[in-house]
Amino acid sequence: MDFLWTEADQAYRERVRDFLRRELPKNWPDIARHGPGSREQTEFSLEFCPKLAKEGLLVPHWPAEWGGSDRPAWEHFILGEEMWAAAEPRGAQYMNVNWIGPTLMRFGTEEQKRIHLPTMAAGKAIWCQGFSEPNAGSDLASLRTRAQRDGDHYVVNGQKIWTSYASLASHCFLLARTGSGLEKAGIAIFLISMSTPGIEVRSIPSVVGHGDIHEVFFTDVRIPASARLGEEGQAWSIIKYSLTNERVGIPRYHLSAIVLDDMVDELKRRDEFESAVVRSRAGAARAACEAARILVYRVVDKRARGEAIGAEANLARVAVIEAEHAVTDFGLDFLSDTFSGQDFPLFQSHHERAIVSGIASGAAEIQLGLIARHALNLPKATI
């Protein structure tokens, strides 16, 4: 067992931090406060990610063939921690780096890889994830958006909702039903250009930053059959692979731990960090962040050693959610004034991210169900 970073790991982290210090503009906090899905942050990412790419810091863990440099999984994760701690200057593009790109590499045709991977590796692609529907959120497999085969094409009709980044995305990683019945086996994945005629995007106002939540309507959207990723009916096994990466994809605990430090600094400045009650809650929040960190590290360690990842990812995800809430609740309880006004943008944006964490990419309760089934081997749920 070895819980310490190597010198090479530490040097790599410093390199990423140096780059961020050098390249993030002075007004970055003003841009970042609008949220990762905002127009401001998305447009910024289209300038920033090409710089990261040039420095070899966008897709270092990808194979050289697709613009990466075959760097170890741990470096990719260190990079992710530092980016998230810096309020994610990659905006929506973290998804390309973490899971859309790797999923295409594993399941895509040569043509699909050739079309999509170079723009991702260059930092110029914005994707959205067309998963949830009005009647298929946690129960994703009951989705109804239909892709009807028509010769060399599919015709897509249906509706997606709560879609992050949709208004500015160039492409959509879309789940749609090609077969009959409400079974997982009837779903396929399509890589769709968002400029295809028949796609309409509406923004939904939200409490979690601008531009994060949309409805996307598909009306007789004609797409070539070559846009299908994998076979008809293969979607579920493909996204299971993708989500294993996605679920520990955002190192939320890392920013939470930094925000907690800032909250304690503010309390000390006010002479309000003396009581045992406040310290006890701060200690508990700190421990929650470290618990999340170590469970996530175990998943990354498995990935780094090329082992299959099972329920460990679900355990980690639950701990990450608990940590993020422990920190934001600590702030709300002891620094409630900082959640109004302009003086504490980080506490506010962290809060906005925190209330998403237990819902996006599979609700906390879905994770608990998966742990019960696959880590504890309990019987399938009846109620």
Binding site: M1, F3, V264, R279, A282, A287, D301, L368, A375, L378
Partner: protein, 306 residues
Amino acid sequence: MRIVPNEDQSAFLAALEQMMGSPAAAWHASPGWARFMWSNELDEALEQNGYYDCAAEETLGAVAAAAMTYRLAQLPVVVEGAASSLVRARFLPALPRPFAVIEGDLGKPVRLLPVAKTVLRIAANGVFAAVLGQDAVEPVESLFAYPMGRLAASRVEWTLVDASELQVRHAWRTAVAAELAGVLKAGLDAVVAHVTDRQQFGHPLGSFQAIQHRLASAAVKIEAAHLLTLKACQTGDEVDALTALGYIQDASTKIIYDLHQFMGAMGLTLEHPVHRWTYRARLLRTSMGGSAAILPALAKRFWIAE
């Protein structure tokens, strides 16, 4: 970063599993329905085979000792591994074991005292040790599932231990965290087995989400605590030890409640072993002041400059 045991640690833990499979480690009812079962036979076997000295082996280290403590705590019988492997092996290898540890004032009931050969006292003014002679300990009836006893102070001669109080305190916190995570894990396993078998309303209890989610939540806490404990052993960092102990003590109240809830009336009997773990956990969660002391101490140590 490598969060799996090295080759030697794997071999060590595999051999430990063999020892844990012996009849001396197995569940059977205690004579006279005592609430605990001290296994002198297993404890001695582990000592004679050098298990409790593993922390001194370079390739095993305190990490292996904590992993062993976590596993031994999962037995339905009690042995004394925590203090022996994580405190004695590093600071007082010459003193006879089993050890008992007094964390504060004298005169209160202390776990393992009736079976201990050495008692260690961690006090504000230093660490003291005493080899226990005849009549030094008076056994005490207790709700907790350890042999409990009170020290007859007049019959004990204390010697100041040549070790930093901070280091010993640190090692002991890690040991308690490892043991608490272990007893909770065993309780969880027992309850998972029960709710898998036990049918009500025509379904196994474990198929109800109300039960699944709470057990899954317990699993998250226990797994994290176990890993935090191992990390604290490697780094030797006081903050890491406080983190591991504070985290699991804080989480344990709810876990213990849930374990008994889902075991139902079966868990109220002495015929089922679940109480052996929950009534060890109930004592361990108060150790070193409990989370009410450990979490503020963590905050002070981490955020207030010395």
